[in-house]
């Protein structure tokens, strides 16, 4: 088991180069998820985008109409009613703009909602998924990596949904309209524009390719510098003690300069993409004007696709001569066109990042969940005078296993706490067996201790009893029932566990103890705290039981945290206990206090103890000495001392339990 979790890489270290081929299928899946959950809202947004796009095209056309149909004839005194005509056109413009404004408002307001709720859904999906994953997943993945799904990756998805996606859709729409209109006017000129667009896309790709090379370099250099900073800041006191400041500075300056160079290159490309696109647009504008005029001068027949010609007759393709007015209209459109292409080019890298992030999220959501084929449940029970077990709706202090059979009958077995491991083999990976042929017989009320060095397999055994992991070979029986048949939740409910890592949660002391049994009364919480020897120190805290704990109880000492986790187990009042004891970080006198707490807890229960100090072991019914996944010695304290084997050496201090 990875006991020491590595410091997770900071943001920019992740990912690296993004290739579209890596994220195949991600986009459709994301869109499907989006539309399935927010279909109506997305539909409205799409509708609004269409309206905006149409208005974006129609607006300038009406402006043109004012010139063509009002100003020009009025100047030639051909239109005495120009005032009326002008008002009419302006009114039309106002109504179009009004509709467009409404559409934009509706779209942005809905998007604000949909975007955040979509993220919230993903967040909740992630969390629910996480709760359903087996312990194996957490042991084999860096915690920082899981965390980054919630932060970095969800964030890139947010950017995609609220920005890139919308921009792409609206760009697509307006490009379609613009191209249609352009074709309507002149196919020749359209070709020129398309040529320009192709060039722009080509340049984007070229520059983008270059910049992504620098981008990756930048990421690498950033990761190196941030990693170094992280390491050195945390080792700063050692640096001071060894007077190593100058060397530390020298190394830092080196990689810092490297980062600066890489960052400059990467930023340079980022900074110049926009001016390049912008001015290529301008250049094509000029080329277009010249080409247009040359065509006119040489009387080249114009070819345009028109639905209705000026004479309102339907025609698909029409020939006419190119007029200057057409060129002017065209020029305006081409500007819009190049602007849009430029905008899209800006979004490309964002989209690639978002898809990479989404892919990681989806991969996580596709992880295999912890399965549970158990059907034997745990129920509260009462025992009548004949010794017959009955199910009870209330907590009675007595539990029973409810065993439904195929013929529909149900038998109840009293929970006694008899646990048998029979020739168990286990490996975290199938190729590497870490427990060999382990057999343990724990009779109700017995105390079984495990001693042995780190990695000997002590914690692994407890991981098997509560089915955090499933065994490879052999059997584990609980009151005679194969634990595979017991519902996992119920199995774990019947086992009280005090872990070496205390892991308290943000909340009050009261809430933390109550975690063991959610319906416990305040009085019961106090009682549990007293059993665990925690009551005294809790009442001395600034706000007693209502003191807020944050960040895994950093405001408490290690010993106090341990006592709270014992209280938490005490209130659960499970018939079988597993205790993974505190480490050497607690001083001797605090340890004695913790010891008292656990002693109280162990009374009358079947207990598995992972001993870090041999004092807890002496009164055990059986001590298992583990070495490299095998039980090498077993017996009571006295018999093991007599044996003068490993236990004896441990006891006399020749070996250290690490």
């Amino acid at each position: 088991m990875a006991e020491a979790k590595k410091i997770p890489p900071r943001g920019p270290m992740r990912g690296g180069g993004y290739k579209m081929s890596d994220v195949k299928g991600v986009l459709p899946r994301m869109l499907k998820l989006l539309f399935q959950n927010y279909g109506l809202a997305m539909g409205i947004i799409l509708g609004c985008l269409v309206i905006s796009a149409v208005a974006g095209i129609v607006g300038p056309i009406f402006l043109q109409q004012i010139t063509d149909k009002v100003i020009t004839p009025a100047l030639q005194d051909k239109l005495p009613t120009w005032e009326l005509e002008l008002t009419k056109l302006i009114m039309i413009m106002i109504s179009i703009y009004a509709v467009c404004l409404v559409a934009t408002t509706v779209q942005t307001q809905i998007l604000a909602r949909v975007g955040q709720r979509f993220l919230n859904k993903i967040r909740k999906d992630l969390f629910n998924k996480m709760q359903a994953l087996p312990i194996r997943y957490f042991d084999s993945h860096q915690h920082g990596e899981i965390m980054s799904y919630y932060t970095n990756d969800v964030d890139t998805i947010r950017q995609f949904v609220t920005q890139s996606l919308i921009q792409f859709i609206s760009t697509f729409l307006s490009l379609t309209f613009v191209i249609c209109t352009m074709i309507h006017y002149s196919i020749w000129l359209t070709l020129v524009v398309l040529l320009g667009a192709t060039l722009m896309i080509f340049i984007t790709k070229k520059v983008g390719g270059k910049s992504s090379k620098y981008f990756i370099q930048n990421q690498k250099a950033t990761a190196e510098v941030e990693g170094y900073i992280e390491e050195m800041m945390h080792g700063q006191k050692v640096v001071k003690v060894f007077c190593y400041e100058d060397e530390a500075k020298e190394k830092f300056d080196q990689i810092n300069t490297k980062l600066c160079n890489a960052a400059t290159n990467a930023n340079h490309y980022g900074n110049t993409l926009m001016p390049i696109m912008h001015n290529i647009g301008n250049i094509f504008f000029v080329i277009l004007a010249i080409v247009g005029c040359v065509l006119i001068l040489n009387n080249v027949p114009n070819l345009g696709v028109m639905i209705f010609n000026d004479d309102n007759k339907f025609r698909v393709v029409g020939f006419n001569t190119l007029r200057v007015g057409m060129v002017v209209a065209f020029l305006n459109m081409s500007r819009q066109f190049s602007q849009t292409v430029g905008q899209v080019s800006q979004q490309v890298s964002m989209v690639a990042m978002a898809l990479a992030g989404a892919k990681r999220v989806f991969n996580f959501l596709d992880e295999e969940e912890e399965t549970d084929e158990g059907y034997v449940g745990l129920v509260y029970a009462t025992e009548d005078e004949n010794g017959k077990i009955h199910e009870s709706a209330k907590r009675t202090g007595l539990w029973a296993w409810k065993h439904p059979h195929q013929d529909g009958t149900v038998t109840y077995t009293k929970l006694k706490g008899d646990i048998v491991l029979d020739q168990v083999d286990f490996g975290y990976v199938p190729e590497k067996i870490v427990l060999h042929d382990v057999s343990i017989y724990a009779k109700p009320g017995q105390k079984i201790a495990f001693v042995g060095a780190t990695g000997a397999g002590k914690t692994t055994i407890t991981n098997l009893i509560n089915r955090f992991y499933d065994i490879q070979d052999g059997k584990i029986r609980y009151d005679g029932i194969n634990i595979n048949k017991i519902k996992k939740g119920d199995l774990r409910r019947s086992l009280g566990i005090v872990l070496q890592d205390t892991n308290l949660f943000t909340g009050t002391v009261m809430e933390n103890i109550r975690y063991g049994r959610l319906d416990a009364t305040d009085e019961e919480v106090y009682q549990a705290a007293k059993i665990a020897n925690a009551y005294d120190f809790i009442t001395r805290l600034p706000e007693g039981f209502n003191t807020m704990l944050t960040g895994d109880g950093t405001n408490l000492s290690q010993g106090q945290r341990q006592l709270l986790s014992i209280a938490r187990a005490a209130i659960a009042n499970a018939p079988v206990m597993i205790l993974d004891e505190a480490t050497s970080s607690i001083d001797t006198r605090t340890e004695a206090l913790v010891q008292k707490g656990t002693d109280e807890l162990m009374k009358g229960r079947t207990v598995f103890v992972i001993a870090h100090r041999l004092s807890t072991v002496q009164n055990s019914d059986a001590i298992m000495v583990l070495d490299h996944g095998r039980i090498i010695e077993r017996g009571t304290h006295e018999s093991l001392i007599e044996e003068k084997g490993t236990y004896y050496q441990l006891y006399t201090g020749a070996f250290e339990l690490e």
Binding site: Q167, N271, L297, G653
Partner: protein, 620 residues
């Protein structure tokens, strides 16, 4: 703790600003300008690009301002020929205008390219210098300074905060020139072209300005509030990941899901509320642009017609509208700059805080460059970690230790054992009284000299990524391989190092995660031995080493470095019982000093600890 927040500019450019959020309100007392100055001091060799960037931005903007003007001429020219038709002469005219336009576009491209280049150089350079200055500053920090900031906060300042400033600087030096310039120029052109009509834009500016800034202000306030909740949400995820065993052991999956759902929904709705405010941005802008378009079209058309095209023409109309849109977009940009700057202010404050921090320890004017011997004396020493602390961490310590003695220190957590020894190598200065090493007050020594002679193996010790050799050579850069091996043999590290395939060239991972706790401690001891100190302090440095090896190490010390004064802090009686003197610490005071036997008789704490541990048998 960080949230990337993306702001969309009007021209579709997207900025990523990593916002750092703070629980503490920025200190209002110190003027922000002063802090900005502290930051700007780091520009140094990048002054030239910092000035060239805005210069080329200005030129680029100029080109961009002129271009619509020429374009208007081109269109006017074409419009004029609309009904007459074109001839070859017109074509020549047209080509002249086109060439001018092309030239302008090329220049604009060139200037834009250069501006981007210099801007990148300047901002990345500033970031580099800031990181360097911060890093070098931290190297000068005393333990007290490091404690004050905490390692992880220093990491954030060196990474996230510097990145924020880089981003803001990159944006800042471009937009700070560009936007006002474009705005002014557009306004002038609008007036030249439209005369009084341009007043429409002028009237719209304050109106839109107020709305935009109100939106930004409201939204930022809301966002800051949500971010705190969002942080808490992420913290609870982290808690769940770390505590997944507890969650599963207590079968609390559904409970946690429900808890998370509530918190997440709350965060979500708060975000929605904030985003909905921001969402008013684009309708506001659209409204302004449409209003301007309609009003201008209406008024200008009337003017053209009523004056028969003498005052204005159609070309003017298009250009006027373009300049108007330019003015309004600039306004939008301004509000974005406002956001970026507001967001980088906390980063600026946090960085300048580090840069202006004075190291609490300084070298004396005429430092002693030699430590005579390993004598240590504490005279009436009291110590507080901060002036504000109510309780002394150490009170009234008097000790006299001779060169070559072995001193054991024992006591519960929080009894200030570490604090006591930290004063010897002047990691902290005493609050009262004095500490003498080699007969001289530690404050009289050159810090490097003193620390080279007083080797400390810290309780929270760290190995660095690199080979074992590299790590050991922290103690002595010029140590030969033989010396390394010798030190490792003393520290009982040679044996396990030799068992590694790469032996002394084995790579140590960051944080030393690929060696066991006991191995790490022994490597740290060897590293300290290589300094050939006069005083060696082991602060609980063998807690993960088994008692047998522990004893071997202590014997090796006795035989090989008899003249070195050795301080051994331990939880284990067995580690200190054969020391010349044992100091029992309790609550910042010396509860007893003596040999093992003496203390067993006289000191209750010592006896108690001994009894508990002895009952157990040797282990721990």
């Amino acid at each position: 703790m960080n949230k990337k927040y993306t702001i969309k500019e009007t021209d579709g450019q997207v900025l990523n600003v990593v916002v750092h959020r703070h629980r503490k309100k920025p200190n209002k007392k110190t003027p922000k300008v002063g802090k900005l100055k502290t930051i700007l001091k780091s520009v140094r060799e990048y002054k030239k690009p910092s000035l060239l960037a805005p210069f080329f931005v200005a030129l680029e903007s100029l080109m961009e301002c002129i271009m619509p003007f020429v374009i208007a001429r081109l269109i006017n020219y074409l419009q004029a020929k609309k009904d007459v038709g074109m001839n070859a002469n017109d074509m020549r005219q047209l080509i002249i205008i086109s060439v001018i336009l092309l030239l302008l576009a090329m220049l604009s491209l060139l200037f834009g390219y250069l501006a981007g280049r210099f801007c990148a150089i300047a901002s990345c350079g500033l970031a580099k210098n800031l990181r360097r200055d911060l890093y070098h500053q931290v190297q000068e920090f005393s333990f007290e300074n490091i404690d004050k900031f905490s390692s992880s906060s220093l990491v954030t300042r060196l990474t996230t905060d510097v990145n924020n400033i880089q981003m803001a600087y990159n944006m800042g030096i471009r937009t700070a020139i560009r936007v006002p310039l474009m705005m002014t120029f557009s306004a002038i052109m609008a007036f030249v072209l439209g005369g009084r009509v341009a007043l429409i834009f002028l009237a719209l500016i304050p109106l839109i300005g107020i709305v935009l800034f109100t939106i930004v202000k409201c939204a930022m306030g809301r966002f800051n509030k949500v971010f705190t909740k969002y942080d808490a949400l992420n913290a609870s995820v982290q808690e769940n990941i770390n505590g997944i065993r507890v969650v599963k052991a207590y079968v609390r999956e559904d409970f946690e899901k429900e808890k998370f759902k509530k918190a997440a929904d709350d965060v979500c709705e708060n975000f929605v509320a904030a985003e909905k405010i921001v969402a008013w941005n684009s309708p506001t802008m659209q409204f302004a642009m449409y209003t301007a378009t309609i009003l201008v079209s209406l008024i200008v058309s009337r003017i053209i017609i009523t004056t028969h095209g003498t005052q204005m023409n159609v070309g003017n109309l298009t250009s006027l509208l373009q300049y108007g849109i330019q003015i309004l977009s600039s306004l939008m940009m301004l509000s974005m700059i406002f956001v970026i700057i507001s967001m980088s202010i906390p980063s600026i404050e946090r960085i300048s805080e580090v840069l202006s921090e004075q190291s609490s320890l300084t070298n004396p004017a005429k430092p002693l460059m030699e430590v005579k011997n390993g004598d240590v004396e504490f005279r009436n020493v009291s110590f507080k970690y901060s002036a504000k602390a109510e309780k002394n961490a150490l009170s009234n310590i008097n000790l006299k230790i001779k060169s070559g003695e072995t001193i054991g220190i024992i006591g519960g957590t929080g009894s200030s054992k570490t604090t006591l020894v930290n004063l010897i190598s002047r990691l902290y200065d005493t609050t009262e009284g004095e500490v003498l090493v080699g007969g001289k007050n530690v404050k009289q020594y050159d810090l490097t000299t003193l620390r080279n002679q007083v080797a400390v193996v810290l309780q929270k010790n760290v190995l660095f990524s690199g080979t074992i050799k590299e790590n050991l050579r922290w103690g002595d850069k010029n140590a030969t391989d033989e010396e390394l091996i010798h030190a490792c043999k003393l520290a009982c590290a040679d044996e396990f190092i030799e068992s590694f395939p790469d032996k002394y060239d084995t790579m140590i991972d960051q944080g030393g995660t690929n060696v066991s706790g006991g191995q790490k401690q022994r490597l740290c001891i060897a590293r300290a031995l290589l300094k050939h100190p006069k005083i060696l302090i082991l602060d609980d440095s063998t807690s993960a080493v088994d008692t047998k090896t522990d004893a071997i190490i202590r014997r090796a010390f006795k035989e090989n470095i008899p003249n070195v004064t050795k301080f051994i802090i331990s939880q284990r009686i067995s580690s200190v019982m054969d020391a010349d003197k044992i100091i029992v610490m309790n609550d910042g005071k010396i509860s007893g000093v003596g040999t093992h036997e003496e203390l067993l008789n006289t000191n209750q704490i010592y006896r108690e600890v001994y009894e508990i541990q002895n009952k157990i048998g040797g282990a721990h």
